[in-house]
Amino acid sequence: MAADPVREWSDEQLKSDDLPKKDIIKFIQENAAHSFLNEHKLLGNMKNVAKTAKKEQLIIAYNQLFQSKRFKGSEPIEEVTEKVKAVKIEDKPKEAKAEVVDEGPPRYTKSVLKKGDKTNIPKKGDTVSCWYTGTLEDGTVFDTNIPTAARKKKQAKPLSFKVGMGKVIRGWDEALLTMSKGEQARLEIEPEWAYGKKGLPDSKIPPNAKLIFEVELVAVD
């Protein structure tokens, strides 16, 4: 263990005007434990300390230091915490982009109305084609692409898009990855995986709306 620091100055020398306050402060700051400095208000910027501390106080502190022997390193736990405070947080290695962690259970339910072929199941990035009808909980139909007799003149086509890519509301992206070609299902999607708190302004979909879709997956490419 390193030897304790030695007294540099006698009492007379301390009181002398030749010895500037700064030197005493410097010595004490370099050699005293952090808690000691704190108690004697000797922490911080040299200039500031010199402004506020009187010579008499410094002499007292100097003497007390040698009496109590509260030198640096004498209070290990406290030193360690000091060191810990001084440790800079190194740049953490970039967390690898993990899969989106599902916070909680899926926000939709699926009931199969007609089974599919169970073999053609779309993967992320595949193009799927669907007929669908969307209703609100109260039964209002807000959207459909199924041709009715009246709409025949505008040729209706199934909705085609690349699944699993965030192009559609999340409930659809997730549900379609579980369906197979030819399957008809009823999806009930919570607002979090549909249009959320806002709903869709200027439309039939209000805020926090649960959406119900009947979907038929007709093709997988």
Partner: protein
């Protein structure tokens, strides 16, 4: 006299085969016929025209009578109109369609709005009849007709207010409505073709689609080009009124009709809106893509669908709001990069609507890797700082903040980083710095802490903010907005973040900040103030000493020097600058005080 000449030439030509009519004959026919019509001998001309024996003559040469006939019909002289109309209609049915087409289109070209509107109204139906007579060879003629008619209609002054639209003084609305009526049978023809090919493929149970003939394809393409052209002019230039402002709006109906035509001819609206984003096979051929799907027209279409909610039933609700935003950014980018105020306004409206569909704090940082997400803010800044219209500048700023609010924390951080680097406008930078302060404030609330506006990422960002760009020589007036916000931010941090907690890291960083920011600022402030005070003194002395003095301050705009500032204005300007320095000083002093207080135990 003319009537005799006409009868003569007709009789003479009766006996001749068509290809032996001399050009002299044709001239005589034309001139005498015209004279008769203009002199009012229309009844006689009518009987000559209707005479069976003259059928060939009429068929070959009759079309040359169109100009005088149209002239009479446009003048609407009660007396002659019925017979002229009879002649006109007969010619439409008998003469060669190609000649008639050219004749009719020529008669539609005018310069004054009244005549344009009247001739469009008069001639569209005959044009339609003539085109139908062309049968399977009508596509290119239809294209030419539609293009000419649209060119004429767009010469008419557009209504700006709802009253102007109601009054329709220049008949723009009527012309647009007429156009839709004109084009309807052709649209239906294309629609039938498409249905047939679908049915055929159903019946054969095969996936092959019956190949459309070139003619059918061409017809569809001409209608597509027409819609695209209309979307650009007049629709991009006109400001549609909402139903609650104007219940019956012919222009809104026109827009809706154009969208419906597109759907009917097999161009689904969602595909058109998404076109710039989806990696679709582009139309082969040089410039074909731009001819058939011009970007400006697609932007206009997107605006109609998203802002005016036209053809809303054509749009699937299944697409995610973020995906819609992504697609729309392409259109927004185009509109905001233009200087025409109506385009800028539509760009802002579309941007706002697209952002409002997305929840706050949900857009992730990955989106900033898409080019438009960086270009659009730059364009928006141009609008905010340079657009002559005050309401557009204000709206631009509001939407700028809205776009920031939609980003999640990481994306906000990266966006602030980007804008501080890429956009040098001091006011905008100041605005961003204010946003940074708000984010730090939010992060300091319990439960909100994040690693972007606290923790390891904050200091690098702060270092970019709490700095004087040119050291003590920085032009304080030029950078004023940025400076004030930076000082405010520093003051906020010192007050809010206790030295013992140091959550933002500001206290450990402070000595560096003093070197890069507060100390040079203090120096610069003193220097600049001294300089300006001396200037002021000199100016005041000069003013006292002499009545006319070589002014040292001069301002030029473009290449013209503005008249020299009077010494009174100079003094005012200098006072104003000094006042600004006082303002900066007061915050700086406060900051320095706070630092001292906190650092003294």
């Amino acid at each position: 006299m003319a009537l005799e000449q006409l009868s003569d030439v007709v009789q003479r030509c009766q006996a001749l085969p068509v290809d032996s009519y001399t050009s002299e004959d044709q001239d005589v026919f034309l001139i005498s016929g015209r004279t008769c019509i203009e002199e009012g001998n229309v009844a006689q001309v009518l009987s000559i025209i209707l005479d069976e024996k003259n059928k060939e003559v009429v068929r070959y040469m009759g079309w040359s009578l169109l100009p005088p006939l149209v002239g009479i019909l446009l003048k609407k002289e009660e007396r002659n109109v019925p017979q002229c109309l009879a002649i006109f209609n007969h010619l439409i049915e008998s003469c060669s369609p190609k000649e008639l087409l050219i004749g009719l289109l020529e008669n539609m070209e005018h310069d004054d709005p009244d005549t344009i509107a009247e001739s469009v109204h008069l001639l569209l139906t005959p044009l339609q009849k003539v085109l139908m007579r062309l049968g399977n060879r009508k596509a290119s003629s239809l294209g030419m007709t539609l293009s000419s008619v649209l060119d004429q209609v767009t010469k008419l002054p557009l209504p700006r207010t709802k009253e102007q639209e109601e009054d329709d003084v220049f008949s723009v609305c009527r012309s647009c409505t007429d156009l839709i009526v004109f084009v309807r049978p052709f649209v239906q023809e294309v629609s039938r073709t498409l249905l047939k090919s679908d049915e055929l493929s159903d019946s054969t149970q095969k996936m092959t689609i019956r190949q459309r003939t070139d003619e059918e394809d061409e017809l569809r393409t001409e209608l597509l080009k027409f819609c695209m052209k209309a979307l650009s002019r007049p629709l991009l230039e006109v400001h549609l009124k909402e139903p609650d402002t104007l219940a019956v709006s012919p222009l809104r109906n026109f827009a809706e009709d154009i969208l419906n035509i597109l759907r009917t001819i097999g161009e689904p609206l969602t595909a058109l809106v998404h076109r710039p984003v989806l990696k679709r096979k582009l139309v082969p051929g040089f410039l074909e893509e731009e001819v058939r799907y011009p970007k400006e027209s697609l932007a206009s279409l997107t605006h109609l669908v998203f802002v005016h909610l036209l053809a809303a039933d054509a749009f699937s609700y299944v697409y995610s709001p973020v995906f819609c935003l992504r697609c729309n950014m392409e259109h927004i980018c185009l509109l905001l990069s233009r200087t025409e105020e109506n385009m800028i306004q539509k760009g802002l409206e579309l941007y706002e609507k697209s952002l409002l569909r997305v929840d706050d704090g949900t857009l992730c940082a990955d989106l900033l890797e898409i080019r438009t997400f960086l270009t659009v803010p730059k364009n928006l800044v141009n609008v905010m700082t340079m657009c002559p219209r005050h309401d557009l500048r204000t709206k631009g700023l509001k939407i700028f903040q809205l776009s920031i609010d939609k980003f999640d924390t990481e994306a906000k951080y990266k966006f602030f980083q980007y804008t501080l680097k890429a956009i040098s406008h001091s006011g905008v930078q100041g605005y961003i710095i204010k946003n940074i302060k708000n984010q730090i404030n939010s992060a300091l609330q319990t439960g909100n802490s994040n690693t972007w506006f606290l923790g390891i990422h904050l200091l690098p960002l702060l270092r970019k903010v709490l700095i004087l760009p040119d050291g003590p020589e920085t032009d304080l007036l030029q950078y004023l907005d940025r400076l004030m916000e930076s000082l405010n931010l520093l003051r906020y941090l010192i007050i809010r973040d206790k030295v013992t907690e140091n959550q933002t890291g500001i206290w450990t960083e402070l000595y560096k900040i003093e070197d890069t920011f507060t100390k040079p600022l203090r120096v610069g402030l003193n220097m600049t103030r001294a300089h300006y005070e001396k200037e002021l003194q000199n100016t005041m002395e000069d003013k006292k000493a002499k009545t006319r003095e070589e002014m040292k301050v001069s301002v030029s705009v473009g290449d013209e020097k503005l008249p020299k500032m009077t010494s009174q204005s100079q003094i005012q300007a200098l006072h104003s600058a000094l006042h600004t320095f006082d303002m900066i000083e007061s915050v700086l002093v406060r900051v320095e005080e706070l630092i001292d207080v906190q650092e003294t135990p």
